[in-house]
Amino acid sequence: MNRKIFGASFVLASAASAAVIVAVILIFMITIMIGGWDHLTWEFITAAPEEGMTAGGIFPAIVGTVLLVLLMSLAGVPIGTITAVYLSEYANRNSIFTKMIRFAVNTLAGVPAIVFGLFGVGFFIQFVGGGMDSFLSGTGEVHWRQGNILWASLTMALLTLPVVIVSVEEALRSVPGDYREGSLALGATKFQTIVKIVLPNAYTGILTGTILAVGRGAGEVAPILFTGAAYYLPHLPSSLSDQFMQLGYHLYIMATQSPDVEATLSIQYATAFVLLVLTFLLNFAAIILRSRLRARAR
């Protein structure tokens, strides 16, 4: 009898745990939604902050976020795709080189975001930027040796590289071997086969990887805290050496550093809501694409 009670309560506890997690997710989303709903107007999305960020919209932050993820994808997706091609098409599973790369990808996925931020400062800003400054101008004028959108997006590209590699590799592996063999049998070289047969058939996976990376990049704040995000800018970034505003950073600043936190609370909720919806849509798109991919692989 005791056993039965224990068993029943164990099953109940496990069900309750799952329920708690789902409930927290729902409460989370509903709280953010209710808090931000009133303030969420078309104007809020398309206007710049006004009156010392206590009024107005978040347009520059949205533009900055979009630019950031665009540049990040331009840098990260090709590298990630090529790495995935190597791992899936060329790599000898047991070679040390392959193991090294796999280990690096896994490690990279576990490095804290803030360490990427430090790396961005130490490598991109101080080393590369400092080098570019002394090489290009030589006058001691600081142009590249400071945070800007280029360094921030490159830092973010490193952070999201494992995401791209893992999804693209999965997609490449789901391309049937018959396709490759058919192409090879018709006299195409390996490289031709990859470019003309394998990659076009894996485009959904490349897209999924890009979307997941963009979702991650749009939400991360720690790597850009000191590699180029700005508190407030009166104008939109127009060159690679400009600083930029970003949604997550904007939310962080408004919620912790603003002089009157209470007054801007609804703006904060609305910003959080926009950010949440953005990442929600991106992740949702990725899930749909991926399930289609998996259905085809079966």
Partner: protein, 387 residues
């Protein structure tokens, strides 16, 4: 058969490379003898194409090396900025009172180039005796973190304690829930519910950490203060609970995968012997999946330990040495996040922040390495032995 292939050297090459990959694939072993005989008959034009092919492979290989290079570069550059603490250059850049006053006078002007340049000039011009370097090292292991003061104290002990405290709270709270939920999903839930549960909980991992931090700041902190009635609104307890929201999806997802990958015959054997479903889950499947659960915990710890934005927003950020969970804390990651933007390049404070970053990096690196090698090998061996 062979002769017809012989004419198309391209084809042979591809068979050769293909075979390299599929070694052990017994049904394709007929490609090999053609390769060696054919090579001598290569015409120059064909050779050119092969060079192109080889070039492509080399380039792809080189690009794929990027990931490894990045790890090396992170090691090199994060550590490089921390080394002046231990191997002070002849002209030590020790912070002094006047430097502090000048650079921390107003935050806004700090980002301007003049100040940085000026600060650097000043800091390199200050010469100090060798004895001062020991002071820094002692200072580093002290129990006070006051980087911005007349006599800066860089004791990272409270920060380490803060990081561990909040991580432990997050794991103690999050891990049981995540593992139980994974058990429920894998065993007790009906199929339709499973199809909903897994994506929903994994969806939580897509939440931006800054939004979780914001939620903790405006909602969780107030609710808990009403319930527990503690003094400080933001403390390690609130931070830990918020952090568990980031750790739960990872622990859940990896545990669920480990549980589902347990061979069917194990559960079936247990059920056939008359064990109930929960007995099977608790005494057969969970022990068999222990390495996977352990890996999930390690990944969860790594995620919680390195997380910045949540703890930055929800823990109060006071570097206190206390074991009281309702007191504010300051973690290592939050310290970097809060202070890095305001330090002067080359300053001791700057180096100390990079040192903290190195510690974070080593810790998460070690966690990942353990999860990667030890756990995976053990899991594979266990199943190989069983099967």
């Amino acid at each position: 058969m062979y002769i017809s292939i012989h004419r198309y050297s391209k084809f042979n090459v591809t068979i050769q490379t293909d075979q390299k990959k599929a070694r052990g694939d017994t049904d394709r072993s007929n490609g090999r003898p053609t390769v060696s005989t054919n090579r001598s008959r290569e015409r120059p034009r064909r050779k050119k194409k092969r060079y192109g092919e080889r070039l492509a492979e080399t380039l792809i290989r080189a690009v794929s090396f990027t990931s490894f290079a990045i790890i090396i570069l992170i090691f090199a550059f994060v550590f490089r900025e921390a080394t002046p603490l231990f191997f002070p250059p002849a002209q030590q850049t020790v912070t002094t009172e006047d430097l502090q006053q000048e650079t921390y006078g107003d935050d806004e002007s700090l980002s301007t180039n003049e100040t940085i340049e000026e600060g650097r000039k000043r800091s390199t011009s200050i010469e100090t005796a060798g004895g001062e370097a020991d002071f820094t090292l002692d200072n580093l292991l002290g129990d006070e973190w006051q980087p911005v003061s007349a006599y800066p104290k860089f004791g990272i002990l409270p920060l380490i304690i803060g990081s561990f405290k909040v991580t432990i709270i997050a794991i103690l709270f999050g891990a049981p829930i995540a593992i139980l939920a994974a058990l429920f999903t894998a065993f007790f839930a009906p199929r339709w519910l499973r199809e909903i549960l897994k994506p929903t909980i994994e969806f939580l991992s897509g939440f931006p950490s800054v939004v979780i931090g914001f939620f903790a700041l405006v909602a969780i902190a107030s609710i808990f203060q009403n319930i527990f009635g503690y003094e400080y609104r933001l403390n390690s307890f609130v931070g830990g609970i918020a952090l568990s929201l980031a750790a739960i999806p990872i622990i859940y997802s990896v545990t669920e995968d480990a549980l589902s990958s347990i061979p069917k015959y194990m559960t079936e054997a247990s059920l056939a012997l008359g064990a109930t479903k929960w007995q099977t889950a608790l005494f057969v499947v969970l022990p068999a999946a222990t390495p996977g659960v352990f890996a999930a915990l390690l990944l969860g710890v790594g995620r919680a330990f390195g997380e910045t934005m949540i703890v930055l927003m929800a823990t109060g950020n006071a570097a206190l040495m206390s074991l009281d969970i309702f007191k504010p804390i300051r973690t290592m990651s939050a310290t970097i996040g809060a202070e890095m933007a305001e330090v002067v390049f080359g300053d001791t404070h700057y180096n100390v922040l990079f040192f903290i970053g190195s510690v974070l990096f080593i810790f998460t690196f070690a966690l990942n390495a353990v999860a990667e090698f030890y756990v995976r090998n053990k899991l594979q061996k266990r199943f190989r032995g069983a099967a």
